[in-house]
């Protein structure tokens, strides 16, 4: 595969042609915060945390959906980008009811740890406190919309990897919500295969194993790369 060279944070790095800026960064251990991106799923560009500055572009670009190109000059961190990332996290926290202290994913949550990492220590905007429910109709799993970020990893993993497309989104704007089938209780879903991939890839406590209490829910999304490599490259690892 042809190799290209680009500059990231004043350093020349090489990348495979067709790779995204984010993939190039991760290959060179350059840290970029992400929430909606997950290795193995299609990139979406929705959480806006991986925005980077690309010389010549009037706008900040999401590293996950922007292809790395020859001679590109990329800056992943500066005062403005870091501030914007914190503000975006503030908005994310303000949107739903993320009460870390009583969440099943406390201490194992990507949102929680990103906030700490990026120094987002308080939210200046009004908490919207939406009225949202908890669906525990499924035999093994539950969905708590209070903790959902609308990253749509569940929707994508269900469609792209499991092939069931049980999940999708209803409504729009701040009223958007993930749904199963025709917005029926998850437990009634005919398309759901109960595989649990959605639960494992969910970055917060929105999807969880039933029975887990505060701080008990631990997730492992690396299975995705393993099974995808196994499937695509026929490299099953045992």
């Amino acid at each position: 595969m042809p190799v290209i060279t680009l500059t990231i944070n004043d350093e020349l790095v090489s990348a495979r042609s067709g790779q995204s800026i984010l993939e190039a960064c991760r290959d060179h251990d350059i840290q970029l915060p992400t929430l909606c991106y997950l290795d193995g799923l299609s990139a979406r560009g929705g959480c806006r945390l991986c925005l980077v500055d690309v010389a010549g572009s009037p706008r900040l670009l999401p590293a996950c959906t922007t292809e790395a190109l020859e001679n590109m000059v990329v800056t992943t961190h500066n005062e403005k980008i870091d501030r914007y990332r914190r503000m975006i996290l503030e908005l994310t926290f303000a949107e739903r009811n993320h009460t870390c202290a009583v969440c099943v994913s406390n201490e194992n949550c990507e949102l929680q740890s990103l906030a700490a990492e990026l120094g987002m220590d308080h939210v200046r905007y009004d908490y919207l406190n939406p009225e949202l429910n908890l669906d525990t109709s499924h035999e093994r799993y539950g969905v708590d919309h209070n903790r959902c970020l609308l990253c749509l990893r569940c929707v994508r993993v269900c469609d792209e990897v499991e092939g069931a497309h049980t999940w999708d989104v209803m409504g729009r704007g701040v009223e958007s919500r993930v749904i199963t089938d025709l917005n029926r209780p998850w437990g009634d879903s005919e398309s759901c295969t109960d595989c649990g991939k959605c639960v494992e890839v969910c970055p917060t406590g929105a999807l969880f194993d039933k029975g887990s209490s505060v701080a008990e829910m631990k997730k492992e999304a690396s299975f995705l790369r393993r099974i995808l490599d196994g499937r695509e490259k026929r490299q099953w690892q045992r």
């Binding site: 999401p62 975006i88 303000a94 949107e95 905007y125 704007g173 009223e175």
Partner: protein, 567 residues
């Protein structure tokens, strides 16, 4: 049909029209119909039938004539080509006008003066057929040159030449962005692909804008012809025209127009006897402002949730179903045929150095003559509002002209002499937008207007990216506080910072431009914001300001809605 038979049909139809003693043009576009054009038409038809005059006379139900606030409009044209236009016509007046005109007697009803600035200050290129033809009769259009540009292009020009001509004309996107149309066409033309698409964006969503609707309703063939020329120029055989769901009449007329054109070989296979095939399908929107954004519009054409996708890749590289797609606004396409007919240099003779041609505006709000106008680029706002528009009614004082809808801003009185072109409006913190121009008087409160637009963006946000989905709600909350009296001074700072964030980090144009009305009004009318916050005073007298800032609550503890004895 081939170019020769097209010209023949045009000549035939013209001849027929010339033989008529009298032609009555009745504006039959949505505003005039709402104002009562239908009974006028019935009355005229009955009279015609009774007097057995159908052979010598013709009633033409036309598209928009312009001054919508004066509807129903009736124009009468005799065999000598003399014309008179009547406003606010009732069925009785219409009959009287008809009878007297037949008898060659002076009409009692006063006609609009022929030199009305509303008419004479306009330059009609896009709207040249609007109000002159029955949009449902293709012959009317053909008689006025419809499809002759297409015939010329198909038989005399190469695709490259067409793109070059458009580039030379200086035409820029009329949907608001102002991207040079010729450049876009060339990009798509050069994109190698087995299949390409042409899309017309008729999802005119800006509140207070109805230019595209009028174009589609009044002269649908103009749009179809422009799309076909584009298809030829970029190498596409399939076009889609995406019409806003709120415009059923435009959709119905386009369906009829497409069928009529296909029947005559003006669209479909081997167009006008050439080797070029071009089909156009209609897609009807279902009510989502974000679908005006090009990538969202394309996902909607594909039957999905109309959410935008990050650019790059641009539609010119990867659009509908991953193929290169040319997407232009309806008004942009409506400019194509005249450019090809009369040449790029002729077109470039209108307008300013960087903004060529004309622009159609929907002039409305607090203005005497509201309606649809087409003016050369570079005309001053003052001329539009006070000459064409006739100023404000009831002695109202001009406060602002809003352009660009929820992505634009308010231009204050001190900038009335600014020429209307892409760059000048941008410098003022507004945008050309698709062409809504709303005049406001002193009774409009600017923070309230900003809140109105933010509410719009909040409800229309698709929800894909965080800054727009949540940021618009938070900005709306802050503006609500300012307009209900509970804001504190630091809220203004929070609001401004949030505006910058949403502008710079949103995924698509909706979010990126959503803060514009706030930033723009904060720039020109900051005093008004401060009056709300510091003096608890709404200068325009719009806002209630009956809420209490948080920190002052302890002083009002007694009035707070606490659960007391009433239970």
């Amino acid at each position: 049909m081939n170019p020769t038979s097209l010209a023949e049909q045009a000549a035939q139809e013209l001849q027929r029209q010339e033989q008529l003693k009298l032609r009555l043009f009745l504006c039959y576009s949505t505003p005039c119909v709402a104002a009562g054009a239908e009974p006028v038409k019935t009355a005229l038809e009955e009279l015609l039938a009774k007097q057995d005059l159908a052979a010598d006379l013709e009633i033409v139900a036309t598209g928009c004539m312009g001054p919508c606030s004066r509807g129903p409009l009736l124009r009468i044209k005799n065999a000598d080509g003399e014309e008179q236009t009547f406003e606010k016509v009732t069925p009785e007046q219409a009959k009287e006008i008809l009878l007297h005109s037949i008898a060659n007697q002076p009409v009692e009803t006063t006609a609009l003066p022929a030199d009305l600035p509303f008419f004479v200050r306009q330059t009609r290129i896009v709207l040249s057929n609007s109000g002159e033809i029955d949009p449902e009769k293709i012959e009317h259009g053909i008689a006025r040159g419809s499809y002759s540009a297409l015939a010329h292009v198909l038989h005399e020009m190469s695709a490259e030449e067409v793109c070059a001509e458009i580039k030379q004309s200086g035409l820029r996107g009329r949907g608001g962005g102002g991207y040079p149309t010729g450049l876009k066409w060339n990009l798509v033309r050069k994109s190698p692909a087995e299949r390409k698409y042409v899309v017309a964006n008729g999802d005119e969503g800006d509140p207070g804008a109805y230019m595209d609707r009028t174009i589609m309703e009044s002269d649908p063939h103009r749009v179809l012809e422009g799309m076909a020329i584009a298809g030829y120029a970029v190498g596409a055989e399939q076009g889609y025209i995406y019409v806003r769901g709120e415009y059923p009449l435009a959709a119905a007329r386009l369906v009829k127009a497409i069928k009529a054109a296909e029947r005559r070989g003006l669209l479909g296979s081997r167009v006008l006897g050439s080797n070029f095939n071009f089909r156009i399908d209609l897609r009807i929107g279902a009510g989502a402002f974000v679908c005006g954004e090009e990538t969202a519009l394309m996902t909607s054409i594909m039957g999905r949730r109309g959410q935008p996708v990050p650019r790059p890749p641009y539609p010119a590289q990867s659009g509908l179903w991953g193929y290169p797609t040319l997407i232009n606004n309806v008004e942009s396409y409506a400019n194509i045929a005249p450019i090809m007919q009369q040449g790029a240099d002729w077109f470039a003779g209108f307008g300013t150095e960087k903004s060529k041609g004309t622009k159609v505006f929907a002039l409305c709000g607090e203005v005497v003559n509201s309606g649809l106008i087409e003016v050369p680029m570079g005309i001053s706002l003052r001329d539009i509002v006070f000459e064409i528009g006739g100023g404000l009614p009831d002695g109202g004082k001009f406060k602002a002209a809003q352009t660009g809808g929820p992505s634009g801003g308010c231009i204050p009185a001190e900038h009335l002499d600014t020429p209307v072109d892409y760059e000048s409006l941008k410098e003022l913190g507004s945008i050309m937008g698709s062409g809504g121009l709303i005049v406001m008087n002193e009774s409009s409160c600017m923070p309230d207007v900003a809140k109105f637009f933010m509410g719009f963006c909040m409800e229309e946000s698709c929800g894909k990216c965080v800054p727009c989905r949540v940021g618009t709600v938070e900005m709306y909350e802050l503006l609500t506080r300012i307009t209900d009296g509970s804001a504190m001074l630091n809220d203004l700072e929070t609001l401004e910072q949030l505006c910058r964030l949403v502008q710079e980090t949103s995924l698509c144009g909706l979010g990126m431009t959503a803060p514009n009305p706030v930033l723009n009004t904060l720039h020109y009318y900051r005093d008004e914001y401060l009056a709300h916050i510091q003096e608890n005073n709404c200068p325009a007298g719009v806002c209630q300001l009956d809420q209490i800032p948080l920190l002052k609550l302890p002083e009002h503890a007694a009035e707070l809605a606490v659960f007391k004895e009433e239970h």
